[in-house]
């Protein structure tokens, strides 16, 4: 099988990797790129655990071929904290215990970050609709939604 060479940008860094033409972006992230923060839940675009952004648009990395990353910009959960400093959403998720087993958390954070970049002042309903593509099977959604709302309020105040 001939592997394909892909040149891309991941979390602001130029990056190259090899993949099979049928590999998904999630396969590439968790395999050759060793970025295992994006989780595989359903592999069919239903659970959002593998959420990343492609050219600043939120997508499921399981629904993208790795070869499609050529010349595009990928951002993952690994790019969210600045060095040792957590992103306000990550900090708030910790403080408010907006997670339990943690499988959905990186997808929730990437999706919430994409929402707040688009809409810094979402209503609770907007948060719930935006996160409808992110499934959580253990902690429920209330703590997550509250954490997103509170982070948004704090970020607006700054």
């Amino acid at each position: 099988m001939a592997k394909v060479h892909v040149t891309t940008s991941i979390n602001g860094e130029p990056m190259e990797f090899l993949c099979e033409p049928s590999d998904t972006m999630l396969d590439a992230l968790r395999g050759p790129l060793a970025l295992t923060g994006s989780k595989e839940g359903c592999a069919s675009g239903d659970c959002g655990a593998c959420s990343i952004t492609l050219d600043d648009r939120l997508i499921c990395s399981c629904l993208m071929l790795a070869v499609e990353a050529q010349d595009h910009e990928i951002r993952t959960i690994e790019g969210m904290a600045q060095g040792d400093k957590l992103h306000p959403l990550q900090q708030k998720f910790l403080e408010m215990a907006a997670l339990q087993c943690g499988i959905c958390t990186s997808g929730m954070l990437v999706a919430s970050d994409a929402l707040l970049k688009k809409n810094p002042d979402p209503s609770e309903e907007e948060v719930r609709f935006w996160l409808a593509g992110n499934l959580c099977r253990c902690t429920g959604y209330d703590k997550i939604v509250r954490a997103v709302m509170e982070t948004a309020a704090e970020m607006r105040a700054q």
């Binding site: 099988m1 001939a2 394909v4 099979e20 033409p21 049928s22 998904t24 592999a43 069919s44 675009g45 239903d46 959002g48 959420s51 492609l54 648009r57 939120l58 997508i59 499921c60 399981c62 629904l63 993208m64 071929l65 070869v67 499609e68 050529q70 999706a111 994409a114 929402l115 609709f129 935006w130 409808a132 593509g133 992110n134």
Partner: protein
């Protein structure tokens, strides 16, 4: 298993050449939100994937001086939502495209893929039918235009000829007093497949409907253009009698399946109910009231 080849041509001619040459083993990749799921489930094992997103015509949204729009087949729902004027002119088409899947799916999924996937329940299709969209397709024998309602042939099938690729949707200019809406019934609040989907486009002058189109989804093997429903609305002031007639026309047009989402009787009744609600929203938008 044969090896999969991925091609991302820069021009439409190259894409058509590669697609036609690979025959039935080839699949077009736009957003990939259906294709990758079908590959993963083992339903499909394509030999060649032709990614059309490097072809500018496939990813552009253009508004002409007369107000008409041309939307590339691979434009994502999110890109359509980000466009400055599209949602003001065609709010119903936009809301239909942005009911497909989650925000993540909308970041990639396109109206072109939604149409070519051939699902009777595709959300964007009834709205495109109501909008009188014309699609441009191009294949080895050249370019042609088809009405959007003539594209689906049945569940998972289209009337595109072998080697043809859907290029773009053309939406006509709108006279003043025009708008549209799309509503669907699903068993939960988000992320589900339509039990019934209704798209309505209206033009209203001095309180009277002068033009109407109704698209109906998920209640027959293909999305339907319901001309009798439109006829019942045209010339009316959207009074109860006209709405009841249009609703009845929608119910009569239904040839649905019975499944876990809804029975035949339920889908048939809901088609009429949704027609009334969708027409009311389109009218409110058209008249600014």
């Amino acid at each position: 298993m044969t090896e999969l080849r991925y091609l991302a041509p820069d021009t439409l001619d190259e894409a058509i050449g590669a697609f036609a040459k690979a025959g039935s083993a080839a699949r077009i990749l736009a957003g990939g939100t259906d294709l990758l799921v079908q590959m993963r489930s083992g339903m499909l094992r394509p030999g060649v994937i032709v990614d059309i997103k490097k072809i500018p015509e496939m990813t552009e949204i253009e508004q002409a001086a007369d107000g008409s729009f041309r939307i590339g087949a691979a434009v994502s729902g999110m890109a359509l939502a980000e466009h400055k004027t599209f949602g003001k002119v065609w709010p119903g088409v936009l809301e239909a495209v942005n009911l497909i899947g989650s925000k993540q799916v909308q970041g990639r999924a396109s109206a072109g893929g939604n149409l070519c996937n051939g699902s009777p329940a595709g959300d964007s299709v009834p709205a495109m039918v109501a909008a009188a969209a014309i699609v441009t397709v191009q294949g080895p024998d050249g370019r042609r235009e088809i009405k959007v309602e003539d594209v689906p042939a049945g569940p998972g099938r289209t009337n595109l000829k072998p080697g043809e690729i859907l290029v773009s949707f053309a939406l006509p200019p709108r006279p003043p007093g025009s708008s549209d809406a799309y509503l669907r019934m699903i068993p939960r609040t988000e992320m589900d497949i339509a039990v019934v989907g209704v798209g309505v486009s209206l033009t209203i002058k001095d309180g009277t409907v002068t033009a109407a189109r109704v698209g109906l989804g998920a209640v027959a093997p293909t999305v339907l253009l319901v001309e009798d429903a439109a006829k019942a609305l045209i010339g009316s002031k959207l009074d109860d009698v006209a709405l009841a007639k249009a609703a009845a026309a929608c119910s009569v047009a239904c040839r649905p399946i019975d499944d876990k989402r809804g029975t035949i009787a339920y889908r048939t009744k809901v088609a009429g109910v949704l027609l009334k609600r969708t027409a009311a929203i389109a009218a409110q938008r058209a008249t600014g009231k």
